[in-house]
Point group: C2
Chain length 446, copies 2
């Protein structure tokens, strides 16, 4: 069996390693266009924050280990450029300019996502960078040190942008964030979004929501970021304005695309070609709340999809139930988490959403050190189902969201969720967990 | 409507307050034998740890507020001594020696639990105390300060005993713990129990498992605790050897008792008498995993049961699905949590348990400050269901357990749980949450 993988990150390497474990006789080849495989991409902002910490600590397994210990034919510097489903071959060019071709019995496309780079003058300046792969991370880190960066502009206000605020602050760099939309975190209930904004502004980050970048002009020490009505000086610029799935190869090969231009796959990760799978950020997925297709690029589902591809190719039938869009990030001292649908998303998906925001505490009554936790919960008036939860707070948010994520997985009603037996001890929360209080209050509105 | 409640703690006051909110015309009377109502009993060890923090901060709502704001006829210092279901009356004596009687239309017994006091000489010495109510807490705290306690013996090694170790350590008191059983935490998988024991022993707590206390002898400065083969000096002794339900009143009134001598109630909290309810630590409950009755005295289920009693009396049909026995406690820097059944309990309940222990990390690969998290997971080979989880670690345990608790509530299989979409960010855990890794490994054994 000849298993070929395009892309050596989370989904690709998970599939390659698991398939080789399951079938020692298989030939497993991975084509990776960069020089890095299997690293914790999400760890880069935290690593950039610490000048004394080598970025290579983020590498989970090196290419050498994959080659020698896992017996995977891992080819870095190999850019796939064309898939021919008829010939069952992949064609491409190495970093040194040599053409290559590989035949496959089963192919996995795990090409990931790529940062959206606004089409403006100056986007190609050498002090303007996205943060997608380890090469970007290394480059950003070396620029901060070597050019003694003092001022940075971040284009975008998503997870990576917010995490980079903290990294820059730790490096003594002042930050301005810019995006065209007027609302800071549009997917978040207003009080919760305000809590995040307060945290950012307390750390002296300047927010420019509702401003579009017209161009970036080079100056001797870095750049001038020109907005419609204002110019910001920057020693460096981070572009974190979202990502799009890398699905060009699949599209050109005639494979069906799905939500957001991602490669359409079924619950077994199969594309419209029976011998081609797709997994990770380049592919779509089912949403456990709506039952519909969605495109939510996150690390866990990429790893899980990689494993499922290996299972299915090796004859272990594995269907993925889907994603809930559960995510968490840290913004300075604040934890911000969500799972499922916002009220707006629920409305768009045809539900009859009712939402409620509560303010709870992170520790029991009378216990020292308690801080506020905000919970916004969304339910469906028609079916009584729990549809989604968002939370913010300085402690007890990151893992607490998982209780709601499990509830979404089994289509629990808000009333059923309100009956769950959650843990209580004074240092960790009130007797009625904030999630239960939120459910109880939401029930009254439903 | 004349609603009478015996016991003014979690279940009793929850029921009284909610019923009065739902039915303004009802006469609500609560008979409480102590002087304190509605306080965070679980907060006492943490309060004792801090000499400068008044114990009254643990009071959530005072008797005066209940009387004036909530319009509840709250009678402290009133000990109920007899229930007559035929006359629908309760008889008793006040703390000042006056007999009283109250008629009811509906009665709630919420008498709680009481500490087990070993029948040994010296158990009634004034330096020997359990920690059950606020009076105990105040007394322990004043003894520590006034007698300048330096050495304490704790009889028992349950949650309260472990929490008191930390309180004593913070007060500069050295602690010895004693219990007859040889195994430190018999309900916990051996590696996890070892992790807790290491934490305790690092803090210089001396453990004497497998030793029974024969008597306590008074000496000028406190007591000598005489074990079968050893004598321990103590300025004070805490008795934390478990609790039993206060069900004598119910038993004498001819009500049916259930598991562990607790008052038997149905899912609507009704006893064998149609006009008498029972809720909180004095009553039994259904277990969501076994579907059978159990007696697990914990704060959340007491509050919830109180609410459900008010609902049912007021005509809002509320059935409680049951408890999972989810709990968490803090032992110095360690968080210890569990939900559902241990392998031994599962075996006794007629399941075919398979268990597996994994060692995970609290943060992502390459993220600084990561510490070990141990997860023991139990599944049923016959039905493939998830049966229980235990966890220990210095961070990310207390709230993480709730994801498993929700899974138990809906009888998820281990394979279904393995598919849940849990949150990931490097400061909060690995891409594969420790619970997912545990589920994946357990699946291989099942």
């Amino acid at each position: 069996m000849n298993f070929l993988v395009i892309g050596g990150d989370a989904a690709g390497m998970s599939a390659a390693s698991k398939l080789k474990r399951m079938n020692k006789n298989a030939t497993v080849t991975v084509l990776e266009m960069t020089e890095d495989v299997s690293y914790s991409a999400c760890g880069m902002p935290y690593n950039i924050a610490d000048p004394d910490r080598d970025m290579d600590v983020l590498v989970v397994r090196t290419a050498e280990v994959f080659r020698q210990k896992n017996q995977i034919n891992l080819l870095t510097g190999h850019r796939a450029e064309k898939i021919s489903p008829e010939e069952k071959k992949v064609f491409g060019t190495t970093i040194s300019g040599h053409a290559f071709e590989f035949a496959y019995d089963k192919l996995l496309i795990a090409t990931g996502a790529q940062p959206v780079m606004p089409e403006i003058a100056g986007i190609d300046l050498d002090c303007v960078l996205p943060l997608k792969n380890l090469a970007h991370g290394r480059r950003i880190k070396s620029i901060i040190s070597e050019r003694k960066v003092k001022k940075a502009v971040i284009i975008g206000m998503g997870y990576i942008a917010l995490e980079m605020c903290e990294a820059f602050e730790k490096r003594g760099v002042s930050v301005s964030m810019v995006k065209p939309g007027r609302i800071f975190l549009p997917w978040m209930q207003a009080d919760l979004s305000r809590m995040v904004q307060d945290e950012i502004e307390q750390k002296k980050v300047a927010l420019y929501a509702g401003k579009s970048v017209e161009r970036i002009e080079p100056v001797e020490t870095g750049a001038k970021v020109v907005l419609n009505d204002l110019t910001l000086d920057a020693d460096m610029v981070i572009v974190a304005a979202g990502v799009v799935p890398c699905s060009e190869l699949a599209k050109d090969a005639g494979l069906e695309l799905g939500v957001g231009g991602a490669i359409a796959v079924d619950r077994r990760l199969k594309t419209s070609d029976p011998d081609i799978y797709a997994a990770g950020d380049c592919a779509d997925a089912y949403h456990v709340v709506t039952g519909e297709k969605c495109w939510i690029p996150l690390a866990l589902r990429a790893n899980r999809a990689g494993w499922a591809v290996a299972d299915n190719i090796c004859g272990v039938d594995t269907e993925l139930k889907g994603v809930a869009g559960t995510s968490v990030f840290k913004v300075f001292d604040l934890q911000v988490a969500r799972t499922g649908l916002t009220a707006r998303e629920a409305n768009a998906a045809g539900f009859y959403p009712v939402e409620n925001m509560i303010k709870a505490r992170s520790r029991a009554h009378g216990h020292p050190g308690s801080t506020p936790i905000l919970v916004n919960m969304v339910g469906d008036k028609t079916s009584s189902r729990l549809l989604g939860v968002q939370m913010t707070g300085t402690e007890g948010v990151a893992h607490r969201i998982n209780a709601a994520a499990v509830a979404l997985q089994t289509s629990m009603t808000v009333a059923e969720f309100f009956q769950t037996d959650l843990a209580y001890a004074p240092p960790f929360g009130p007797v009625w967990d904030p999630l239960l209080t939120a459910a109880g209050q939401l029930l009254k509105k439903m």
